[in-house]
Every structure is written in C-alpha cells, then in structure tokens.
C-alpha cells in the first residue's frame, strides 16, 4: 500500500504538472492559430477559385473567337499575333491548349492541320512536352492528353516508359495516348503489358476507338497473350466489333485454363453467333462451373438451333437453379415454332415449376 500511495502522490498532481499544463496550452494556442489560418485559407481559396473561374470564362470566349478567326482567315500571322498577346501566362496558355483540344475534337482535314500548326508555332507543344517530363504524375497525364490530341509524336518514348509505371492512372493515360500516337502499331503496348488490364482500362480504350474512329485491329492477335486480362480484352473487343474472322482462335480459347477467359469466350460465341461452336459448348457444359454453365445456356439462346433442343430440355429438367431453368426455357422459346410447341407441351405437364417458368419466359413485360 505505501508504494501505491507513493505512486499516487507522485502522479496525482499530474494536472498541476507544469509540462502537462504547458503541453495543453501549446495545443490550445495551436488550435486557435490553426483555426484562423484555415479560415484565411478557405477565404483565399474561394477568392482564387472565383477569380480563376471568371478569368477562365473570359479567356475562353476570347480564344473561341480568335481561334475561329484564325482558322477561317487568310491573314494567319495577324491572328496568331493577337492570340500570342493574350497567351502570356501559364494559366492563359493552359486555357488556350484546352480550348484547342475541345475544338480539335470537332475538326477534321485542313482545319485540324491548321490548328495543329498554330499549336506548334505558338510553342504550346513545348509546354506539353515539359508536362510529360514533369515529376508529378497528374501533370504528366495532362501532357499525354495534350500531345495525343494534337498528334505530336516526338516524345512517344517518354510516354512509353509510363506503360511500366506502378501508378495505374498514369499507365492508363499512357496507353490511351499511345493508341492515338503510335501510327504503325497503336495497340502494340498490349504485347508487353505485365500489369492487369482492368475493365476500366479496357472500357477507356474501347471508348477511344469508338469516339475517334480509330482503325480496329484484328484482336485475335492477343488471344494467346500470357496476360489473362489482355486475353479478356481481346475477347471483349472481338465480341463488340463482331470480328467473326477470329472464330478459330476463339474456339481454341474455349479450352483456356482460366475460367473467366472461357466464360468470355463462351459469350463471344453467342454474341457473334459462332454456330460451329455449339457441339463444343454442349460437351463442355458438364465440366464448367455454374457461371460458365449459365453463360453456355445464354449463348445457346443467342444462336437457336434444333440440334441443341434436347440438351436444353435436359437442362430445364435436371437443373435446380432458377436462372439456369429460365435461360434454358428462353433458349428453347427463341427456336421459333418448334420451341413454342415444346414449351406448350411442357406447360401441360404438372412436373416441377414448368408452368410458372414458362409463363415467366413468355411474358414480354419481364424479358
């Protein structure tokens, strides 16, 4: 007990301990000062935002007029001088670049070439190149975007280096830039991609191809890639662009050891109606997992064929899973008169939930 009492005596007056009091006072003062700093910061931030917004809007209108005048006038030098006069600060040059990019999306042919010439003559490409070499990743990305829109290929090597980056955003933007800048082999980066090619990246590349009318390559080239995500991308693109010439390679992919790849290959078979794969799909059904089995039945629904009627009836009869039963019945229904006759016959049977399944399938409000 005396020891405990001693301990308490030593520490009981912790709250009168000068160090503790001093520490508390320091924290209080820091908080009060911090509060004022934050308040000032908030106000400055608001003012800056407002100013930049107003200036940006003003410049935007100005540049729009000047750029249109430049594109459609004969005296380019005079118009260029006018633009140069305004585009002095980094901020206004950035606004100009953004405006040029926006404009370039809707331009083609001679007008686009003229705009690009202006971009180079004004030395704006140097600004973009500086951004590419910047140490901060988000500034690099801005550089990638500007150069790709303005079709400047001089720093492709620097952009290519970013393909190996661990930063997924930087990698994605480098991929997107190279698809536009690499003239000989825009999708060549897929050959060497070691990182997973996420669905998000795939979607962005697909959007780029679609929106900018890029030449669609033969995606079967990547069906043997060692990067499984690249194979998935290739299959997705074969499906979306309906590359029926890839049939042999797709059939091979149905034997791929990766379940997800096989599922995508099955989807491709259905979507582009590779009827020659029906026997293979039928044979593979029993060896596949639930999701791939479902994909097989769905694919069969997209290429109705009498030869698989028996198989689909078997699925409907033997499988317990609701989704499989519905998909099998839907596939039968898509076979036209024969399918409808089969379903009507099954409706009469009191076995299982045939009546409710078939009513579900035949109801156009549901499907």
């Amino acid at each position: 007990m005396p020891d405990i009492q001693n301990l308490i005596d030593n520490y009981y007056h912790l709250f009168s301990n000068r160090i503790v009091v001093l520490a508390l006072v320091i924290v209080i003062v820091t908080c009060i000062v911090g509060m004022f700093i934050l308040l000032v910061w908030i106000l400055i931030n608001r003012n800056n935002l407002k100013k930049r917004l107003m200036l940006g809007e003003k410049l935007l209108v100005h540049y729009q007029t000047l750029l249109i005048d430049y594109l459609f006038s004969d005296d380019n030098a005079q118009e260029m001088d006018k633009i140069k006069k305004i585009a002095q600060s980094e901020f206004s040059r950035n606004i100009l670049i953004n405006q040029m990019i926006d404009l370039s999306i809707n331009l083609s042919g001679e007008a686009k070439t003229k705009l690009r010439e202006l971009y180079v003559c004004m030395g704006l490409h140097q600004d973009s190149i500086r951004k590419v070499h910047h140490r901060k990743w988000h500034i690099k990305i801005k550089g990638f975007k500007e150069l790709s829109f303005m079709d400047i290929t001089t720093v492709n090597d620097a952009i290519r280096k970013a393909l190996e980056s661990k930063n997924d955003i930087l990698r994605l933007e480098a991929q997107l830039a190279l698809v536009r800048l690499e003239k000989h082999d825009p999708f060549g980066f897929l050959d060497h991609l070691v990182h997973p090619f996420t669905m998000w990246e795939q979607l962005n590349v697909h959007e780029l191809i679609t929106f900018h009318n890029l030449i669609v390559p033969d995606f079967s080239r990547w069906l043997n890639s060692t990067n499984d995500t690249v194979v998935v991308f290739a299959l997705n693109m074969i499906r979306v662009f309906k590359q029926t010439q890839a049939v042999d390679c797709v059939v091979e992919t149905l034997k791929h050891p990766n379940t997800v790849i096989r599922r995508h290959a099955i989807d491709v078979c259905g979507e582009i109606q590779l009827r020659e794969t029906l026997p293979t799909l039928k044979n593979r059904y029993k060896d596949e997992d639930y999701h791939n089995g479902l994909a097989i039945v769905q694919a069969m629904g997209k290429m109705p064929d009498k030869s698989i009627l028996g198989f689909l009836k078997l699925v409907l009869d033997k499988e317990e899973d609701v989704q499989l039963q519905i998909e099998a019945a839907m596939a039968i229904n898509k076979m036209g008169d024969i399918g409808t006759a089969v379903l009507e016959k099954l409706m009469l049977s009191g076995y299982k939930n045939y009546q409710i399944i078939i009513r579900h399938v035949l109801d156009k409000r549901i499907n």
Partner: protein, 482 residues
C-alpha cells in the same frame, strides 16, 4: 479507505485524459490520411469523363433496390428520378414493404403496372412476396415493383436481391435523391479491381434540408437554416471527408451508409443477405461480408468514394434526431456484439486490428465514458474537489480542438467539392462549429447513452421516423419500418 478512493480518482482522471488525447491523436492521423487520399482521388478523377462511358458495352449491370414503406406522397417522383439515372445497364426494383397507405396504388396507377408471373428463388429468406409487377408501357421497362408482407428495411432489400437479375446491387433509401451520375461513379471501383475483389462501395451522403428540389433533382444547394440540420452538415462533412475517406484508404471501412451503397450481389447472397435481426443492417452487412471474405481467404476491398452521391433529409427536431441516434447506437452495439470475434484479431488484418477496435473504443465506448465523465465531474463539484483552473484548461483544450477539426473539415469541403457557393454559408458553417461542442455534442452523448440503455432493455425496433419531405408539400410523412 482514503487510499482506495485516491486510487479510484487517480485511475478515472488518467483514463479519461489519456483516452481523450488518444482520440484526438486518432482523429488527426485519420485527417492526414484522408487529406492524402482525397488529393489523389481528385487528381485521378479530374481526367475521367463519366458521361462518355454511359453507353459503354463493358460496364457491369446494376439493380437499384429501393425499399418503400408508406411513401405515397413522393413515391411516383422518386421512382421517376431513379429511372432517369445516367447509366445504361440497370434496373430499378422498388419493394413495397407492406405499406398501409396508398404507396402501392400510386405506383400501380402512375407506372401502369400489371402483375406478372415472375419465377424466382428465395435465395435469401424474406417475408412472403405477394406479387411482382411490371409495366406494359415499354418506357418503364427498367422498373420492377415487388409487393410483399411487411418485414422491415433489411427484409425488403433481401426480397429485392432475390428478384435482381444484375451483377451488382445498389441499395438506396427511396426518398433520398441520387446524383444523376452516382451509378457511373460507383461502378468504377468495381471495374478497377485487380488483385482484390471489390465487394462494396459507398459514397458521401449530403444533407438536402433547405435545398431547392424540383422533379426529384437538387436545383440549388443551400445550407440548412435550422440549427440542428446545419450542425449535422458539419458532422457529416467531418465523418465522410475526414474519417471514412481515411478508413477507405486503410481498407478498414466498416460502414457503408444505408442511404446508398453498392455491393457485389453474389458475395451478398453467399453471406446470407441483410440481417433482419439488427437495426443497423447496413453496418452489419459490411462487417459480415468482410468477415466472410477474410475467413475464405479471398483478397477483397471495400471502396469509399468521396464524391457527393446522394442527398438525404436529416431530422430537424430533437425528438426525431434522438430516435435516429438511439437506433444508430443500438445498431452499432448489435453489430459489435455479433462480430465480437473480430476484436483486435490479427487474422482479419486492418479490419480486425484497427477498424473494429476503433468502432469499439471510439464509436461505442467513448460516449459512455464521456457520460460517466460528466457524472464524475458532477460528483467532484458536489465534494468540492474540482481543480477549476485545470478544468478550464482542459475544457479549452477539448473545445478548441473540436472547433479546429470542424474548420479543417470545412476546408476539405472547400478544396474538394465546393458545394456551398455562397460565402455566407461558409461563415455560418464555421460559426456553427463554435456552438456544436457546447450545444449539440452533449445531446449526442445523451442519445447514445439512451441507445445503450434501450439495448439492454431489449428494445429492438426502428422507432418512428418522421420527415418533412422534399418538395412543395411539407406535411409530416411517416417513414417507419416495423
């Protein structure tokens, strides 16, 4: 006797003081993590043009599930807003959870619904589904309405999951207002997954009280005029931008708000769906999903999106707010108790070691200790043992730290989404921060205590939630589950 008393006083003093310091240190650490994560997120997403991907064929399919109970005044508009979301591949499932008013009839009439023979499986147990309804009008093809026996919000969500035909489910309160591009932002993390499965995603909930709302859309953002909703703006800003962002970054997030959350449907089904045995079904589901993934050794992630995705009306009266906070406390306690195995358990990684432990100490235990601290202080006053100079110093320490943290949260809001354009609103918000620790915080402590007491008394109900309702008609609207 005196020594024992001294030991007791010594322990109480030190425990409360150390815990307070620890709590502040944790808040500060989370704020720094959050700041870094927010900066990266904003930079990363400044290059994303979400609108260009609306029609992309590679996006995952989503079922938006909205349980509705006695929502007759707003249901038609709310469904219309849900069907106008910017996304290609989605369906809207509205679950009429045994409403006793005209909710179902309003839907039937407005959307020309007809009963269909819908074949489905009760993959997750739920109350009997009386019927599934679709419209014969092709304009409403995306809409499915379920009419079921009342079973509460969790049960209604489970019914919706059973009917869902899509890959992802998005649960939403039907009376919340989703940002039109919310689905686009929420599916992105699912599409970005690499080594870790993304099992859930949640975003920032914003407060819509006093905002101008037309046709189910926010037309003008305003700071609430009343004190209680305004102080909740501050509270939500702190919670969402400072704490949850950081927990998302650490992969230790335990809660995706019930107002809006997106989940991998298969994982939800494998986990057994929403629990109907708790009033905190949103938190419980996330914890159970995380636990399931960890126990099955499947690498996973729960992602937090700092974008404002949904607007909701918060309680504007003390009575209703007290009920809400009481329910939140009981929900937290139920979840923590159900999953007590996670407590400081290294097998569950950061989720067990930090996430659960944080909730245990700082979300559940801290209000109890604080309340006991008030009682202890009252005792000290009675026995005239208060060291007043030190008390004032401690009070100043706690008060100014709290105000500082709130100001910091306002700065986060300003630097990120800058939703309050009016400068006056910012001053009002910071002004509110000065009153919050004195006028509002003690109430939250009391409500939390009441929640704990009610839990011990066996109260398990949601409590009656009344809302003002958006739009012109401002009559009281019942919004209660059983």
């Amino acid at each position: 006797m005196e020594t024992i008393s001294n030991i007791f006083l010594f322990t109480v003093n030190h425990v409360i003081f150390i815990l307070t310091c620890l709590l502040f240190a944790v808040y500060l650490t989370l704020s720094f993590i959050s700041a870094a994560a927010l900066r990266k997120y904003l930079r990363k997403n400044s290059y994303v043009d979400y609108h260009s991907i609306i029609l992309a064929p590679l996006t995952p399919s989503v079922s938006v599930i909205a349980p509705a109970y006695n929502e007759e005044r707003s249901i038609v508009e709310n469904i219309r807003a849900l069907m106008s979301l910017y996304y290609n591949n989605f369906e809207v499932i509205v679950v009429n959870d045994g409403s006793t008013d005209g909710t179902f009839n309003r839907m039937m009439e407005a959307y020309e619904l007809e009963r269909v023979s819908y074949f489905f499986d009760y993959r997750i147990p739920c109350e009997r589904i009386r019927g599934v309804y679709k419209s014969h009008n092709r304009s409403f093809k995306k809409l499915t309405v379920i009419d079921k026996v009342n079973g509460g919000k969790a049960d209604a969500l489970n019914a919706g999951i059973n009917i869902s035909k899509k890959d992802l489910i998005c649960s939403i309160d039907v009376d919340s207002i989703m940002e039109p591009d919310a689905l686009l932002k929420m599916v992105k993390p699912f599409m970005e997954e690499t080594g870790k499965e993304v099992i859930g995603a949640g975003g920032v909930i914003r407060i819509a009280n006093s905002c101008v709302i037309e046709d189910g859309q926010i037309k003008e953002i305003r700071l609430p005029n009343e004190f209680l909703p305004r102080v909740q703006v501050l509270e939500y800003t702190r919670a969402f931008l400072l704490a949850r962002m950081a927990w998302g970054k650490l992969n230790g997030l335990l809660l995706i708000s019930g107002a809006l959350g997106m989940f991998d449907k298969e994982v939800v089904i494998q986990c057994g769906g929403y629990s109907t045995k708790t009033v905190g079904e949103d938190m419980e589901l996330v914890v159970r999903m995380r636990r399931y993934m960890a126990e099955h050794k499947r690498p996973y992630q729960v992602v937090y999106i700092p974008d404002p995705l949904v607007w909701t009306e918060v309680p504007a009266t003390r009575k209703i707010l007290a009920r809400q906070r009481n329910r939140w406390t009981r929900g937290t306690l139920e979840t923590l108790r159900t999953h007590k195995k996670l407590f400081f358990n290294y097998k569950y990684g950061i989720f067990g070691m930090l996430g659960y432990t944080y909730w245990f100490f700082f979300e559940w235990l801290a209000p109890i200790l604080e309340f006991l601290g008030y009682l202890y202080f009252a005792y000290l006053i009675i026995v005239q043992a208060v060291n007043w100079s030190f008390f004032l110093l401690l009070l100043a320490f706690v008060y100014f730290f709290a105000v500082f943290l709130s100001t910091w949260a306002v700065l986060f809001e300003e630097k990120t989404f800058h939703k309050y354009k009016n400068r006056k609103d910012v001053f009002r918000l910071i002004g509110t921060a000065f009153f919050e620790p004195l006028l509002y915080h003690p109430l939250t402590v009391w409500w939390a205590m009441r929640g704990n007491i009610d839990y011990l008394r066996g109260v398990r109900s949601w409590g009656h939630m009344e809302r003002e309702g958006f739009g012109k008609d401002k009559k009281t609207k019942p919004k209660a589950d059983k």
